[in-house]
């Protein structure tokens, strides 16, 4: 349904445009003006809430500035950046953030794909129920998810240990939040649970765009389910997969809520966002904290750049002007 209407509006567009060009150039001018009148407010707001703060952060990052000692502020050029980049804590937190990002995105992609297939193929009577259920984690507050998982695994208030004590390594005495890997696993589980629905909806959209003639033809040719998946379906929704992965990667890279609630960075589970938060908001070291914020932003830019150049993810093209 959606594809037909897109095609139609596409075929309409050139004729209107031609007519306009032939008409008054005044009209084109006024259309331009109207365009910016309408789009302008949103554009300005977006810039105001991001571009301004990041520039301010960059400026602040050049100072040694502590909120509880406002008189000692000094301009120190890039010394804060040197401090951050030469510190093992930055690299450790970057590592933890990358581990979380890579692991969650891979699992979410697989799980999300399975859920997308289920939603796509489900028999009619189940479709609404399944979609509704899958949307629940999507809508839930991340902090609530973090508490739910935390309380379930916590050594005092949890029941998971008691349920699964038949698995070697799990006993009522297992303290999930006392060590790096167990606590990181629960953090990632919560993150995966909460965000997989988003990725699966993006993939569902991609699935809908695989021409059904192709899959049917493959089926007639006697291709197995696995072969159809690998040779027809996945290649045809590559764009959707890439966009989903990029969006989730950037989102996972910003992870904060789950870590903050569950461990607050204890036992080496600190992530970059938490480091930035603790430095500028808790320690009130505005200069140093701003440097971390700017570096975090640079990391996101790098990921984006790599994705677009290396994997040719065409973000604007997915929706740009056609």
């Amino acid at each position: 349904m959606s594809t037909t209407s897109t095609k139609e509006s596409k075929s309409v567009a050139p004729t209107t445009r031609q007519r306009r060009r032939a008409n008054l150039s005044d009209r084109a001018k006024s259309e331009r003006r109207l365009g910016w009148y309408l789009a302008g407010p949103a554009f300005i707001v977006m810039l105001a809430v991001t571009l301004y703060p990041i520039l301010q952060a960059f400026w602040d990052s050049l100072f040694s500035l502590r909120l509880t000692a406002p008189d000692d502020t000094t301009f120190i050029w890039f010394a804060n950046y040197i401090t951050v980049l030469s510190d093992p804590i930055w690299w450790r937190d970057l590592g933890v953030t990358l581990i979380i990002t890579v692991v969650t995105v891979i699992i979410e992609l697989i799980l999300g794909f399975a859920l997308a297939l289920v939603m796509d193929k489900a028999i009619k009577s189940l479709r609404g129920l399944l979609r509704t259920a899958i949307l629940v984690p999507y809508g839930i507050i991340t902090v609530v998810s973090a508490y739910a998982w935390f309380y379930a695994f916590d050594i005092n208030s949890g029941y998971i240990n008691h349920w699964f004590d038949w698995i070697p390594g799990i006993s009522p005495d297992l303290n999930w939040f006392a060590e790096f890997w167990p606590s990181l696993s629960v953090i990632m589980a919560s993150e995966i649970w909460k965000t997989t629905p988003f990725i699966s909806l993006l993939l569902l959209a991609g699935l809908a765009q695989v021409p059904s003639e192709l899959t049917e033809a493959a089926q007639v040719d006697g291709a197995t389910w696995w072969e159809r998946m690998r040779k027809v379906i996945v290649p045809n929704m590559k764009a959707a997969i890439m966009v989903a992965v990029l969006f989730r990667t950037l989102d996972a890279f910003r992870i904060f809520d789950n870590v903050f609630i569950m461990t607050n960075g204890a036992h080496g589970t600190e992530v970059l966002s938490l480091l930035a938060y603790r430095t500028s908001i808790s320690r009130l070291e505005i200069g140093l904290g701003s440097a971390i914020s700017v570096l975090l932003f640079v990391c996101v830019l790098i990921i984006c750049f790599v994705a677009i150049k290396l994997f040719k993810v065409d973000l604007a093209g997915t929706q740009g002007d056609k």
Partner: protein, 280 residues
Amino acid sequence: MTSGKQKITWAVIAVLVLLYALFPVASILSTSFKSPSDLTSGKFLPSSGAGTLDNYKQILVGDAQGLFLSALRNSIGIALIATFIAVVLATLCAYAIARLDFPGKKVVLTTALAVSIFPVISIVTPLFNLWRNIGLYDTWPGLIIPYLSLTLPISIWTLAAFFRQIPWELEQAAQVDGATTWQAFRKAIVPLAAPGVFTTAIIAFFIAWNDFVYGISLTSTETARTVPAALAFFTGASQFEAPTGAISAAAIIVTIPVVLLVLLFQRQIVSGLTQGAVKG
């Protein structure tokens, strides 16, 4: 055409998906009915049958009432206003993108994309400083404005996708029939655009409702503190006792609107998210 075997397979799949999606919710729901002594029982369900309502009483009519109810009011108010503003601005913007020919269209879309991937934590520190200086710290506008950075980009994208599918010829047809531009817009276009706007509003609301970082960084009293931020303020009977029950009860209450919206508008949310994000 579904055979018996297929039905069973689907039943199994459905149960698995439901377990996956709802189990953590059930888990915290059950915790919210536990009394303090029950918390350490190591069991999923509260031991005394139906459990206790004490945790809900504590946050709705008891000691934590002031803390929770004001946070709930702030959360609802701030999220709704942020949603409203975002949707209005995004509607205008998306209309222009889908409908008008003007240079810089791509710049606007790219900006929206860039803003949506922006690390929130990078914005918090400068905003915190700025808000302190101009008196927006710990106020409603002080949260609504940064919430726009979360809600605006996705609103623009989702709505632009919706508006592209609207058959705009209807408007011209109406104009030919003698209607004014405004009438044509209102009679022909608004009914078509409304569902998209509404869906966008739900998605934007979810995002504003979910915020935590701004909530804990830019507020400090009950005048603007939102529910996710307020959860860290709960305590047991004394400052050293764990507030597990109260937090769980509060968590369940803020989940109710989400579940309601999902139940009522499942179809719209799915179509909104799938259309806005990927258009091949």
